[in-house]
Each structure stands twice: as structure tokens, then as C-alpha cells.
Symmetry: C2
Subunit: 423 residues, 2 copies
Amino acid sequence: MRTRFYNAKILTMKDGEEIIDGEIFVKDDHIQYVGPHKHEPSDFDRQINVNGNLLMPGFKNAHTHSAMVFLRSLADDLPLGSWLNDAVFPREAKLTKEDIYHLSKVAILEYLTSGITAVFEMYLTPDSIADAFGEMGMRCVQTGGLNDFSQSVEQMEDWYLRLNKKDEFNSFIPGFHAEYTCSEALLMDVAALAHKYEAPVWCHNSETKSEVESCKQKHDGLTPTQYLDSLGIFDYGGGGYHCVYLSDEDVEIFKKRKMGIVTNPASNAKLASGMLDVTPFLEAGIEMGIGTDGPASNNCLDMFREMFLTEAYAKIRQSNAAALDAAKVLHMATVGGARVMNLKDCDILAEGKKADIIMIDLKKPNMQLVNNILKNLVYAGSKDNVKMTMINGVIKYSDGEFYVGEDIEKIYEKAQEITDRLK
Amino acid sequence: MRTRFYNAKILTMKDGEEIIDGEIFVKDDHIQYVGPHKHEPSDFDRQINVNGNLLMPGFKNAHTHSAMVFLRSLADDLPLGSWLNDAVFPREAKLTKEDIYHLSKVAILEYLTSGITAVFEMYLTPDSIADAFGEMGMRCVQTGGLNDFSQSVEQMEDWYLRLNKKDEFNSFIPGFHAEYTCSEALLMDVAALAHKYEAPVWCHNSETKSEVESCKQKHDGLTPTQYLDSLGIFDYGGGGYHCVYLSDEDVEIFKKRKMGIVTNPASNAKLASGMLDVTPFLEAGIEMGIGTDGPASNNCLDMFREMFLTEAYAKIRQSNAAALDAAKVLHMATVGGARVMNLKDCDILAEGKKADIIMIDLKKPNMQLVNNILKNLVYAGSKDNVKMTMINGVIKYSDGEFYVGEDIEKIYEKAQEITDRLK
């Protein structure tokens, strides 16, 4: 299958902010050509006139819990404790792996509407999640949600070995929920697994002030990062989600271990956790991605919102409108995300890379007038501008229609049944 | 012209959060019926099957400078001083009233995509702005942008008398730019005008910390609100835009004078001004609206973003995920906005009210799963959910198409010419 996109503006993300006029050729799952207009009109199965709109790499949603879509708007505007203990945990306890399979599909549809081509997922049943993503044709890098009450290191080893070979859409990186939900014995086993496979390890880290404080109290003044690192968990890298309250010493550990950080600004606002200014991490050379977190704590799976908030927090925290350039945020949402997720071939648009490409509608009024397309996208863009989402060379979403091999009404219906049952 | 919307969910905003299943009949410019399904199939010029989607009052964008769309993304990520002095002011000095007419139209198109049916506008040439809104069929309440360098009280009196009679779309409320751009003599004249017509007066107020500090230095420790009130400007009410740094004493003045407040959270973030927690004002019973501010300082004209940020700021500022309920924010974005803009007939969906109605697509994945439609809308909604925007009984935008009596490509083209000329 060969596809030609022509008459396009192209933001490859290879050379910073540069946008070229040209064409992209896709063969099966990968990109064959990116560059200026080329006379090669024959030998294509389809030719798509981009009409001067923008082609760019898909967004990477670098932290999410997809199946939590069943909790969306169920118990908002509650204090965090009630939310978790009264609304989330009792319902999660009743979830089956089949439920999670069906619920994940609803989130996948929403990712497509936001131009998201890959997610970094953490939830309860990796096998059924991998099935949902594999069948719908979206990339999913999973990590363990291991804690004292759910999952085991043995299971995680099994997922690590199997899911990394499952198909072209799925992969697995070891991980655990967080310092505060895991015993030291369990964490030592995680460290042993990391050592056995020389593997990176990810977890929620320093999301709230109280998490950091209580870790310091338990562990002789050590922050979660210091404590976990002292156990050898990060000896082969990895990273942290949220990281709202890292100390300077923590940042040094992230640098030394070449670890990544994923910021989740909307979730941090909605759960009143705080505001992360990402600029010190970027200046320290730490690779960063942006994630929506789960749909119960955000509640939107929308990378445009996250990009704006990432900008907003830096500017407000520094009282400086020049605190963070839009290009850096767009890098985080695409290239940075791909790197922290170890999706080496999904970062930029270039020959040989995977064809994970989105088309941005530049004809909508929010992309007018044109002084700077990239800044228009970051500051004024919305889901409404996502005209097409292609993953692995296959168009999954175009002009509001889904091409996922299933009737979306049936996906909603099944997931709503589950939601109603769990109430 | 009689239109029947049937098979609808309806959020009238009359009774808080209640959503009913039913129908709406529109005759010419107003609503004839809102209620349960009614057997009256004949005598309609058109019958629209809402397919279970949501009808609700249009959003009121309660503070904007529409024509600034020519500055979008031109000079972002700059310190505020450079932004204003090097990018904004020199270009604004070259604007003609015809330029502003054409540029405003681009913003109007964007308002329609966000379900905005009325705006509270402040910019340089009220007559040509009123022409643009009147011709495009969108409601525009203008206020004066008067300051020491632009506009006069005589002009403002003329606009007040003429624009309030111009047509069904336009109205005018006296106003001035801000305390820091107006001499005391000018402000006294504004107060005299307010007294002559017993009229409310609006202005930018306490947007930044330095604005408040420098007012206090100049005026014996009086804040902008105290100083302006001491001149009699607010004797017949009015209100303030931004109001990020009001004191408790200021809030008392707002209460006493029955003044309104419009928050502009995205602009306050992008220009690094600060974060307003609106909850003390709401608790004080002050009527509040939400505005995007101009497209150069936001850069998006998107009420969904503003609603989320209004929530986010309250939750973060209070470190409390329960700080502000979604229903209150939706009230601000619709009913509250209409009230501060003096659009008495455009606040809710009820018999006799103006037919300013939007349709929200509930079938998009971000509106799934359904636990609470209102919270889905506020926390997860986006422009992508705006299926239709009707103003004054006329559908202006539907399924991505504009019905504004003009070719939108030509609107863009003309406005881009102006933008390029002013560079």
C-alpha cells in the first residue's frame, strides 16, 4: 500500500520549527519520502491532496489510565480523599479484564480525535489493554501499575517478555504505581527485575506535597526519588510521572540516571496538586513528555489543553510571559514523548520512520491569521483542528469519522453498560 | 420562520443543572416553546432532529478585543513590555476603521466555532466593529476603549446614543481602557457621562500587581477600584475585566455598586499576570462572566479553555479539588455573562427569550461515558463538540460550515492582506 500526500505544509519536528511545503510518501507502515514536491504521480494506491494544511508527527500522550473513562464526571468537585476512597477504588475493585478491554476502546477513540498516535499507559490488566490497542491499531507502551494490592513482579516479568513481542502496536516497560503504595520488599523485587533485564523503571513520583513529606518522614529525610534510587530501581534509567515537587537533588538523580519526566498539568489542576514549571528540567537537559493522566482526573484526553497548560504554568510560576517558548512545548508533546516512551521510530517525520502522521486543519478560524503556524497550533489549536490521524500507515480518523474496524456506537453502548453496572 | 428542534436533551440554565428531554420551537428571533415532547408536527418551516444531543444557551464571551486577531502569534513568548511596545502599539497605530471591520470578521467566525453567541467588545473603532457584527449577525455589546491617546468622551456619548439603537445585534455601555491610561480630568468626564445617563461603566481593573501598586502610589494608597469609585464613576454600576488583584475593600465596593466582574484566565496565564480564584466573588454574590480577552493575548477564542482554567485556578489556589463546582462555571459562561452584558433576553432557554441556542455533540468520545453531562461539558468539552450555533433564530454555524452570507476564504484573504501590510 503506497500513499502520497501532496500540496502539504510539513512540520517534520526534525529541524526545530521549520515548516516546508512538500509531499510525504508512505509505504505500508513507514515513511518513504518527505520533502519538496516531486514528480512521481503514478504507482500510488491513493493520492491525498492536503490542500495546504499541515502534516506533522502524531502527539504522544505520555501518561494515561485509559479505562478510567468509566469514572469520567462521576465524582468530580470532591476532595481528593473522598474521590479516591468513595468513588474510584470501590468501583475499580469490581472491574474485570474484559471491562477494561471495552472501556479502553472509548479512550482510544478520543485519542484519535486529539491527534494522539501513541500512549504511555498504566492500568490494571495489561493483557486485555494490549488486545484493545492492538485491535484498534493504536500504539500503546504499557508500564506496570504494581503495588501492594495489585499485580506482582512475576506478572510484570511475564508482561515484559510477552507484550514486547506481541505485535507492532504494543510494548512494555517495567513500572510500579508509586513509592507510597509499595512496600520496601516489593520495591527491592522491582529493582532486581530492572537489574535482571537492564531495564528502565517508571512510576508516579512526587505528585503531591504530602507524598514527598510522608516519604521523608518514613525514610530518614529521603525524597521519593532519593529513596527509590537508593534501592537501585533507576540503575538502568526510567522516569517519573507528574514530578510536581522534585528537589534540586532529585533533578540531579534524574540527570545522572538519564531518566525522563512526564508532566500532567490538567490533572494536577483538577486534583489541586499544584503547578509544575518544566523549564528547570528542560534546562537540565532532561527529556520530557506530556500526558493527560486518566480521564477521571482531567477529564479530557486532549493534548492541546495540556500544551497550553504546560506553557501557562511556566509563565505564571515565573511571572514572565517569555518563560517558555511554544516550540519547546510542541517538542515535548511529540518528540520528547516518543523518546521517553522508547518509540524510537515514531518521533519525527523522516524517511524510514513509522508513518504516525496527523493532519492539522489550517483553514479553521483559530489558525488565522497566519503570523506563525507553530505558535498558532500551540496557543490556539484545538481538537477541532485535527483533520486526520494516521497510525502505522493506516488512517484511523479523518474528518470526524473513525476507521477502527468497529461501529463506534457499539463501543459506546458496551462501555456504558459496564459503567452503569459498576455504579 | 418557525423551527422545531426535537429529540433533544435541553439544558435551559433556568433551573441549575437540570437537563430535560424535549423540544424547542423557535419563531423568528425568539423561543416560543421549551419543554417535553409535544405533538405539533405541522406549521414549521423546518424540523431539526437533534438526535439526543444537547441544546443549551450560547456562551457569552464577556471580554474581548476581536480585531487583534491580526496580532495572533506575531510576538508571543516575549516579556509583556516588549510585546506591547514593540509588537502591539506600533501596529495598532496603523489600523484604519476598515481594517478593524475586516479583522473583526475573522474573530466572529472563531466565536461561532466555540458556541459563542455574544461578545463584550472593547476596541478602537466602535462604528466599524458594529457594522461587522451586525452584518454577520452576532450580538456585540461594546464598551469604550477611551484613554488619553484614543477616543473621547464626546465620541463615547455619540456611540452610546447611536449604537444602542443601531440594530438588534449591537449595543453600547460606557467604558474606558484602565485607570493607568487615563488622566483624572478624563475620568471625571467619564463620571459626568455616567451621571448624565445613569449608566454603568466598565474598564480593565487590577489586571497586574504593578498596576495596583502604582495606582496606590499615585493616589494616597487607593486601589484602582477605590480611586475610580471615589470619582463617582461607578455610581450607576458597571464592572471590571480581569480583577486578578482586588482587595477585600474593593470587593465591598463591587457589592455595594452591584458591579460585575469578568475573569480572563487564559490571557492572565499567557501574559503571566496571575491566577484569579473567583470563588470569593461568587460567594459575595457578585455577578460574573468569563472572557477570552483578545486573540493576541490568549491566543484562542475558546470558552471551553476558559471554563477549565477558571476551575483550575480556584482548585490550585485553594489546594482543594472541591473548590468550585462545574455548574457555577457554566453559569458564569452563559447566564452570568448575559447579565453583566445587560443581555436580559439572552441568558436562558425559555419562552420569549431570544433564540441564541447552541447544539453540543454528545456522541463524540470526549462526552462518553455518561455519568454527568454537565460536568462532561465543562471538564472535557471542546470546540469539537459545537455542532450548531444559532443567533437570533438564525443558524450561523452547523457541522463545521458557516452561514454568514460571505465566503470565508475571502474574509481570511482580506484580513491576511491587512495583517501582512501592518507587519
